[in-house]
């Protein structure tokens, strides 16, 4: 399963390391093998010494690396070991060469190599003193060799020597570079593997948590759904029995009882609405609100809403108008949900408009969208209240205490915004304090 990952950084690094090593191997082959095949033409340095230097380069680098690893693990300083190693090998090599009587070999090359190695290997804690000593020793050795006639002060010989030294140094540095490339790639790979492991672990943990959260969300949804049903059953009984009592003839109830019953009935209705809205919110937030998208006529829908709310508007003495649209008002939407949105906006408008005011529903075409607006001549919404308008339970206290007789659930506009949003539509409000508000939602033409 996990093998099916796309091209990763690991893979790219493997490739680049491979190509780097490849180039180095080819260069090594050219330097070691070509002089063997064409000894007359290419006289750089003895092939054996080139190969040996290459291997030396690799091995010293690895030696340094191991040293570094061991000492870094213990948290100790290891530069002194490297210094000691350089000094020891310099002394040892010089002594060995003198011992076997090969004084005629250009010894200073070895010193140069030492310096180069330490410089290549030690990016930090460069042992300056050691380098100074080695450099000084090299110069002394060079002068010494010239003095005893080992190096003739002859331009041709000096050039040859320089080429030899350069070739050997090149080989040695290739060795070091190769080893270091391998080491650093290995390190990088280890790092990547480590972080990949960590990442995988974290991903697994997150996946588990996500599954759990989803389960919890489903549980919550189910709980709210069942609770809503369970709550609504007794609420229905209360509402229905209250209604039965309220049907009694006027003589049977005195006005105080009637008022009390009205209030009890209204409160029951509010509770039912709240329970319903909470279920809807739970659905929306659990992304489980299914929309039954069909072609609907917004004007027809508005007619129904008007019929339902006409009595309420009349009771309050509000002039309630439905403007007939100039264009078609067909959209693709969930009839029930959009009806709820329109009903909610209209109900709010009636609620917040004082006696003698005006509430109007009207339509407008804007491009491929049909805009449905509900305007009122209510108190309006102040600028600081605007951002709170479409939030959950964000009733605007002052405006309620002034005008509204029955507070809402505080979820209506939140649900309206979410429902319109699920239809890929938008909802907006324009308002002037003291003048009134216009709520507009737009849906794409069906």
């Amino acid at each position: 399963m996990n093998k099916k990952r796309p091209i990763t950084i690991e893979k790219l690094q493997e490739l680049s390391t491979g190509s780097k090593i490849g180039v180095e191997i080819i260069l090594m082959i050219l330097l070691v093998i070509l002089p063997r095949i064409f000894p007359g033409i290419i006289q750089i340095a003895h092939p054996n010494s080139l190969a040996i230097n290459f291997i030396l380069g690799v091995s010293t680098s690895i030696f340094y690396e191991l040293l570094q690893k061991k000492y870094q693990k213990d948290g100790k300083d290891f530069t002194w070991i490297i210094n000691a190693q350089i000094i020891t090998s310099t002394v040892l090599l010089t002594w060995m060469l003198h011992l076997v009587g090969r004084i005629n070999g250009p010894l200073f090359v070895i010193y140069l190599l030492m310096i180069m190695e330490s410089a290549l290997n030690l990016t930090t804690n460069l042992p300056n003193i050691v380098i100074t000593i080695a450099t000084t020793a090299t110069i002394i050795e060079f002068i010494f060799l010239v003095f005893i006639g080992e190096i003739p002060l002859n331009l041709y010989h000096l050039l040859q020597l320089a080429i030899k030294i350069a070739a050997i140094m090149l080989m040695r540095s290739y060795g070091v570079a190769l080893a270091q490339t391998i080491i650093s790639e290995k390190k990088a790979n280890e790092e990547i593997q480590k972080s990949t492991r960590k990442l995988r672990y974290a991903t697994r943990k997150l996946q588990k948590a996500n599954i759990r959260l989803r389960e919890l969300s489903t549980l919550k949804d189910e709980f709210v759904s069942i609770a809503s049903h369970q709550l609504r059953t007794p609420m229905t009984a209360i509402k229905s029995y209250l209604w039965l009592v309220m049907q009694k003839k006027d003589e049977a109830l005195n006005s105080k009882d009637r008022k009390n019953l009205d209030r009890a009935y209204e409160s029951t209705e509010r509770t039912i609405a709240l329970v319903k809205d909470m279920l809807t919110v739970s659905r929306i937030e659990g992304k489980r609100l299914d929309l039954d998208m069909v072609e609907i006529d917004l004007y027809e829908l508005a007619k129904k809403v008007c019929e339902e709310l006409k009595i309420k508007a009349d009771e309050k003495g509000i002039h309630f108008v439905l403007g007939s649209p100039k264009t078609k008002t067909i959209v693709k939407a969930d009839q029930e949900r959009i009806r709820e949105v329109l009903q909610n906006l209209t109900d709010n408008a009636i609620k917040f408009t004082p006696k003698g005011g005006r509430v109007r529903i009207f339509f407008k075409k804007a491009g491929r969208r049909i805009e449905t607006s509900v305007s009122d001549t209510g108190a309006g919404i102040s600028k600081q209240d605007m951002p709170k308008l479409f939030q959950k339970f964000s009733r605007l206290e002052h405006s309620f205490s002034k005008i509204a007789e029955t507070p809402g659930t505080g979820l209506g506009l939140y649900i309206a915004k979410q429902v319109v949003g699920l239809h890929k539509g938008s909802i907006r409000v324009k308002s002037k304090v003291g003048k009134g508000s216009v709520f507009t939602f737009s849906l794409t033409e069906g």
């Binding site: 759904s225 809503s228 049903h229 609504r232 059953t233 007794p234 609420m235 229905t236 009984a237 509402k239 229905s240 029995y241 209604w243 039965l244 049907q247 039912i272 319903k276 279920l279 809807t280 659905r283 609100l289 299914d290 039954d292 029930e336």
Partner: protein, 132 residues
Amino acid sequence: MNQKDKNGQKRILIVEDELYLRELYQEVLEEEGFIVETASDGMEGYSKAAKGGYDLILLDVMLPKMDGLELLAKLRKGPKPKSANGPIVLLTNLSKDMAISKGKTLGIDGYLIKSDLTPGEIIAKVKNYLKI
């Protein structure tokens, strides 16, 4: 055989487990002159409905022993009663998107959301379904 033939009264079956609501609906519908029979769980509801002869069946969804939708499915699959039942209407408090869409696939003739309706509105809707 049908009682409605005797005196023109329509027969309604209410399958509802909640005692208060069952009695309330029975009461208000009987006052309107209907013959009302009731069942308090799915099994009882099924055995009554399977006999046939109801002009309207009001069926709750959440019921003990057998839920309303199971009852509906069983009724659709089972043998047809001698005298066919009239419309079957879901009587529920469940939200619109859940039970009702399932009910629609089982061929319900409509649905009533209990908490949305007053007894008066229930009577009006019942009369509507019975085409009175």
